[in-house]
Each structure stands twice: as structure tokens, then as C-alpha cells.
């Protein structure tokens, strides 16, 4: 699935991901390819992404919104620190 992580200031990540675990406002959310259309508020915490090559990347999310639609995940984060 396609993943795009953007903040008001930049594009943090753009590419293909196998899976991701993200902090939603009320707990953790895992997203795999083929997820149903989904819209949620994000909380604060690390978002872990398993990329196409199997690497794990972690982003420290500071709130925002996540949208999942037709196998495309868009994370609109207020701010992100890469870790």
C-alpha cells in the first residue's frame, strides 16, 4: 500500500509500506494493505512503518489526522520527528 506522511512544513515519507502501526487518539492502530476506508485523529507517539524492503522506520508523531482509502494511507501530522 502507498504511504504518505506529510507535515505543514515537508513531506516526511512517501513510498510503499507493508504495514504500519500508528498512534491514534484512543490507542494504537495497525494498518495492513486492503484496510477499509478509515479516518482517525492521531495522538502522540511513535509510528512504526515496515517498508517494502522489510526495514522498519519509526516516526515520532505529534498529533494529526490519518486517512486510509483505496490502499493509500495519508498521515497529516502536525509535526514529526524521525527516529
Amino acid at each position: 500500500m502507498q504511504l504518505r506522511v506529510v507535515t505543514p512544513a515537508q513531506i516526511v515519507f512517501e513510498g510503499t509500506a507493508r504495514s504500519l502501526v500508528a498512534p491514534a487518539w484512543d490507542g494504537w492502530v495497525g494498518v495492513l494493505p486492503g484496510h477499509a476506508p478509515f479516518l482517525t485523529l492521531m495522538g502522540e507517539g511513535p509510528m512504526t512503518v515496515e517498508t517494502e524492503s522489510g526495514d522498519r522506520q519509526s516516526f515520532e508523531i505529534g498529533g494529526g489526522v490519518m486517512k486510509v482509502e483505496s490502499n493509500t494511507v495519508t498521515v497529516l501530522a502536525d509535526h514529526v520527528a524521525t527516529g
Partner: protein, 286 residues
């Protein structure tokens, strides 16, 4: 014809001016590059957020959230004008001020009470000089605007709209089409215009429930609309300044050329006259 020494003095002065305008052009070019990078980096988020918000227009939501309120008639509107803190950028500020005045006149002609909010010394200076009441103003936003700057501008307006004191909020800023074209435009940021192609929110699993989610997204949308205006303005200002300073530098070059010609002519005239005097003096001795 002016004496050679006076022309020389003018040449010196124009050359100094050209030095300054050329430096300003170079500074603006490098600032423009950075401002454009920031602006381009801000666009994906802005586009994605706008697209997302369009999909959120669900019937009934307008009743539930004060920010989605759609007043039947506009009684009081706010105009937020973004200008630069500095001049020497051609008609950039003048265009923005003109657009804001036009908007205010139009609203007042329609019987709408208006209030004016200004960011930037240039806009503030103009309206203060004319004696137009300014509801709020800030001159603290520099070449590198942040989302927090946008918050500071939009928060009071949002609160006013939520409380029902304001029925509409307009943003006057420049749209950065290219470094040469930065027209002033007005965008209505409140009330939020539902897009005709809006997808119903029902197609999504939504968490938290739509009213609360929308309540959290809308402030981000507003902040982003103003932030985008700020970064586009910052880039537009530098683009306009570069163009203005380039033409000033070119003009100075033309003036220099003419002055140098006058100077040479004056000098030559002086030499010719001296020779004529010497020849005349020698002829008188014979």
C-alpha cells in the same frame, strides 16, 4: 551643460545606488529560493488536508459544529490582510492593499459591517495613515513564517466565528504563480464552502465520531489556509523585490551610461576651450 565635476558627482551617486540595488537583488534571489522551497514543501499537506476536509461534508454536521455554521445572512465580516514588513518590492504591497480596500468597499456596499485585521508593517502603515480602524495587527512575522504564526492570526477570528460575532472571514494574500506573477487574491476561509463533489463521511470508519473529528480538523484547516497564505506571501514578496531591484539596477545602468556620455562631452568641451584659449593667446603674442 552641467560642469564636469557636477556630472562626476552624480555618476558616483548613481553608481552607489546601483551597488545597493544590485545587492538587494542578489539577497532577494537567495531568499526567494528558500521561500519557494518552503512554499512548495507546504503544498502537499495543504492539498491533502483540503481534499480530506471535502470528503467530510456530511449532511447534519453543520448543525453539530459551530465552525461549520452557515449563516443565512452576513452581518459582520472580518478581512485578514497579509502584507510584507518591508518595501522596495514594487507594487507587491500596493496590490494587496488595493485588493483589501476593494473587498472592504464591496462588503460595506452590501451592508456588511467589516473589521480589518492586518499582518505586516506596510498594510498597517497604510490603513493607519488613512484613519481606517484596524481591529488587530501584528508586524512580528518575518521572512520565515511558521504554523504558529498562522495560529496567532487565525485563532481570534475562529473564536469570533464560533461565538457568532463574525459571519464570514476573508483572507487577502498574494498567490504565488511565478516569481514574476504574484497577484493579490481574496479567499473566503469561513464559512467553509462544501465542495460539490463531496463524498459522504459515511463511507469511512470514523473515529472519533464525525462531529468531534471535524471539530479537531477544522482548526488545522484554518491554520493551514493562513499558513499557506503566509508562505506564498513570503515567496511573492521576494520575487517582487527581485524584479523591482533588477529593473532599478538596469535603470541605474542606463542613467550611468548617459551621465558618462555627458561627462566625457563636458570634459572634451573644456579641453577644446582651453586649447582654443592657448592658441588664441599665442596668436595674440605674434
Amino acid at each position: 551643460m552641467a560642469g564636469a565635476s557636477e556630472v562626476k558627482r552624480r555618476i558616483k551617486s548613481v553608481r552607489n545606488t546601483r551597488k545597493i540595488t544590485r545587492t538587494m537583488e542578489l539577497v532577494a534571489t537567495s531568499k526567494l529560493k528558500r521561500a519557494m522551497d518552503r512554499m512548495l514543501a507546504a503544498r502537499p499537506y495543504s492539498d491533502a488536508l483540503n481534499e480530506l476536509l471535502r470528503g467530510l461534508h456530511a449532511p447534519g454536521l453543520a448543525r453539530d459544529h459551530p465552525l461549520l455554521r452557515r449563516p443565512a445572512e452576513t452581518k459582520r465580516a472580518a478581512v485578514l490582510l497579509l502584507t510584507a514588513n518591508r518595501g522596495f518590492c514594487g507594487a507587491f504591497n500596493a496590490n494587496l492593499i488595493k485588493e483589501a480596500r476593494l473587498r472592504l468597499e464591496e462588503l460595506e456596499a452590501a451592508g456588511v459591517e467589516t473589521e480589518l485585521h492586518i499582518s505586516g508593517k506596510k498594510g498597517l502603515g497604510f490603513f493607519r495613515f488613512r484613519g481606517t480602524p484596524v481591529a488587530s495587527s501584528t508586524t512580528g512575522i518575518g521572512d520565515n513564517p511558521t504554523p504558529a504564526d498562522a495560529d496567532g492570526l487565525v485563532d481570534p477570528l475562529r473564536a469570533g466565528f464560533e461565538a457568532g460575532d463574525l459571519d464570514a472571514v476573508y483572507l487577502v494574500s498574494s498567490e504565488f504563480r511565478s516569481a514574476m506573477s504574484t497577484p493579490a487574491v481574496t479567499t473566503r476561509i469561513l464559512p467553509v464552502e462544501p465542495s460539490p463533489g463531496a463524498r459522504s463521511v459515511d463511507a469511512f470508519i470514523v473515529s472519533p465520531p464525525p462531529p468531534e473529528l471535524v471539530g479537531r480538523i477544522l482548526p488545522r484547516y484554518l491554520r493551514n489556509a493562513v499558513y499557506r497564505g503566509l508562505v506564498e506571501n513570503a515567496a511573492g514578496e521576494q520575487g517582487a523585490r527581485r524584479a523591482a531591484m533588477k529593473s532599478a539596477t538596469d535603470n541605474a545602468g542606463d542613467i550611468l551610461e548617459n551621465l558618462t556620455r555627458s561627462y566625457n562631452r563636458a570634459r572634451q568641451a573644456q579641453i577644446t576651450q582651453e586649447i582654443a584659449e592657448i592658441v588664441g593667446g599665442a596668436a595674440a603674442l605674434e
